[in-house]
Amino acid sequence: MTDIHKEPMESVSITFQLNAETVTLSVDPSESALIVLRDRLGLTGTKEGCGIGECGACSIIVDGKAVNSCLTLAPQLDGRNVMTVEGLSDTPLGQSLQKAFAETGSVQCGFCAPGILMSSCALLLSNPEPTREQAIEAISGNLCRCAGYVQVLGAIQKASRISSINDSQD
């Protein structure tokens, strides 16, 4: 669980791009990326649901790929390009996804939403027009207990269409 506040025995300095800003900080080599994001950088949009990589609530995007930040060590972020849910609103694709999630009723309690958004975003970054099967595969590591996934799959399709329309207008 986060809020660990380890008294670091040793520390390493890491520098990475975080939501289009450059961040440098020193971390305990055994600290997870999730702890660094939530406790050191105050980005609490990324959630912890299990701490063992089973629920996907802590998904972030590292170099275009969705990863569980609870299983990623902070030093592994060094030199990488990291996006969290807080950075989503700054990108056209992120905005399309947020709009589509809202309009389809995909959010109930919303605790899993940041993670599912990041997995969906990573999918559409690499594959702007995924099939339903590809969308299912992309978010199958994200657990949702309230909403039953149906509306989310609709949202991904909707966002992929919006994005591709936007792309064609560029």
Partner: protein, 758 residues
Amino acid sequence: MTGKSSNEKPVDSVGQSVIRVGTLERLAGNAIFCADIKLPDMAFLVAVRSQSHHALIKSVNYDKALDSQGCLGVFTSRHIPGKNRFGIINKDQFLLAEEKVRCIGDPIALVAGETLLAAQRAARLVEITYQELPTVFNPEEALRVDAPKIHESGNLLGRRLVRKGNPEEAFRISDVVVERYYETGHVEHCYIEPDAGVAFVDENGVLTIFASTQNPHYDLKDVCDLLNLEETKVRIIQSPTGGGFGSKLDLNTQGFTGLAAWHLKRPVKMVYTREEAFLCTSKRHPLRIWYKTGASKDGRLLAADVRIVGDTGAYASYGMAVVTRSAVHATGPYEIPNVNIESTFAYTNHPMAGAMRGFGVPQIAFAHESQMDLLAQALNMSPVEIRLRNSLRVGSHTATGQQLQASVGIAKTIESVKPYHDKAKSNPPVLKSHHKYGVGIASMFYGIGNTGVQNPSTAQIELNRDGSITLFSGAADIGQGSSTVLAQIAAQDLNLEPGMINLVIADTGKTTSAGATSASRQTYISGNAVLEATGKLKEVLLTHAANKLKTSRNTVGLRAGFAFENGNHDHKVSFGELASIMTRTGTPLKWQGFFDPDTTPLDPQTGAGKPYATFAFASHVAEVIVDTYTGEVEVVRIVAAHDVGKAINPENVRGQIYGGVVMGLGFALMEEYIAGKTESLKDYHIPTCADVPEIIPIIVEDHEPSGPFGAKGVGEPALIPTAPAILNAISDALGSRIYKLPASLERVLAASILSRES
């Protein structure tokens, strides 16, 4: 008279799929859940929990813990200033154990640290010695006289009898009698947000507790009793809550954070790990059900004899509600003239079982819907036909003798799914020989609100000086959408866009009780409370507007924050101006609404009474493909028809249906919490996106005259028919039936081997 101008058309908030309140901040990562709260000087809490199923506590030594670096304090039951008892119905839980523990996970000590790490380190240094006691895990054994006593008062939690007619005689004249035994296991709620809370003492000396909760006003009462504080000295604020499904009706972190903040006089935070949430929050009650049904040869149900034994674990939680609800719903949505139902629940050394989406009805529906299919088979009838023939209708009497007056949509839900059922049956897909295809149907009814007891809700509506409107409701929105629905109801009545209503929700410092977010009750009960409040405000708005516009009251209408003269919409006065007039004339700006559903208590001997003011109805059809080599079941499609009275927000209703169906699929096929073995999500699997079938939701609206705009509820009903429909489909595929949930690979495989051998 000319037609209405566009300004006179109602805004039509009810029936619109308004985007759920709180959606945008959740999508931006800005919603502050309890685990996200950071306060200056905040301490962290860790509970030290029992590792024994049943033992006397011989000693608790925490000297080393206190001496450890960063430890701020260790609390045991001796530090509880008030009465160390709590529980929503039976006050049998201890915030911190006294002389003994009754299950693994019972809290014994609470440790506070400067950091979470310091608290965890200190917690490991707390030394507890136990004297082991004999244990009991089987509820039937627990009820024997020589069983180890878990509570002083004995192991019987409660019993409910429902008796009507002459079942003995009815069985004698029945042409067919089906008798079977069914079993269900423990199920974990598995909301994605583990329980969490924060507490601090504010500048006025008020202990303020942020909680992930379904019922802040209940929390307030029990926290005050635990800490011996006046209700004015404690404030519970519901934070965004990451799902609940019944488990967050219990006091989870609220007592701990309250106790520590009160002693330490500094902010504290407690976040359960997933393992802790699995270990020590409530579960769905495992039920053992003996079910005997008699019918005439034309398929009429004549008698039901049902015995239910439930395991409530070490504490009652909502167990008494499950005792009663499982009995009252044991017939299913059918009229059966002769019934003998007995439901008995016992304490055991298992984890506490409590409220979980449906309060025993999902379990009993598995039994009554299996029975219906077995009867249909014995009578060579279609499963659809036997359900239609017996379904409740207006004028029918339920097992408790309640005569249904209106909004009995069960037959409509069956008729809605029938075409899908019949088409699936007549066009089975071509499959490999070891893949078997099956179709199943299941139905349910569900009483809205608490059973046979007063369960009122209150709400206030306030006209602000600037003409805006604020709705105050104590109803906790845990993701199901009650805030949105209540705003839509208020908006419809005042003829505003729902976005024009400010909301103050689930804060005991600012709202009055709406009762629990449970029993699918908030739309119906709190919705009616909101309507009473808006009705009163509307009255005074119309009166003052008529005065101001110098016209008669019955010619005044409201629209989008103005009162205007019908037919002359330029002749109008704004809500802001009306607020000024009302203030000057001493007319209250804030009005209260109250609603308590019309129920009567159940007779202790016969169960006779009116437990609910209204019922929701539903029918699902499931199509499955069973792999007879592996036992794997693929659910291909679920068609889910729900009579909700009126869908205030159709997309919300569909969202509840999708979520309920998927939870029902987990209950049917994969979810089984094994006490002492299941630790976390690594060994407890809930459905992922890859498990989800095509789901076709069908909304049936059989208007409920006593509901707000005709609405009833849908939260729990959404889950209930799914598992029985899937089990009936598996049985259809294999030709043999599974009587124990979940239908795991092993059980499906066993059933398919059995069917090959027969």
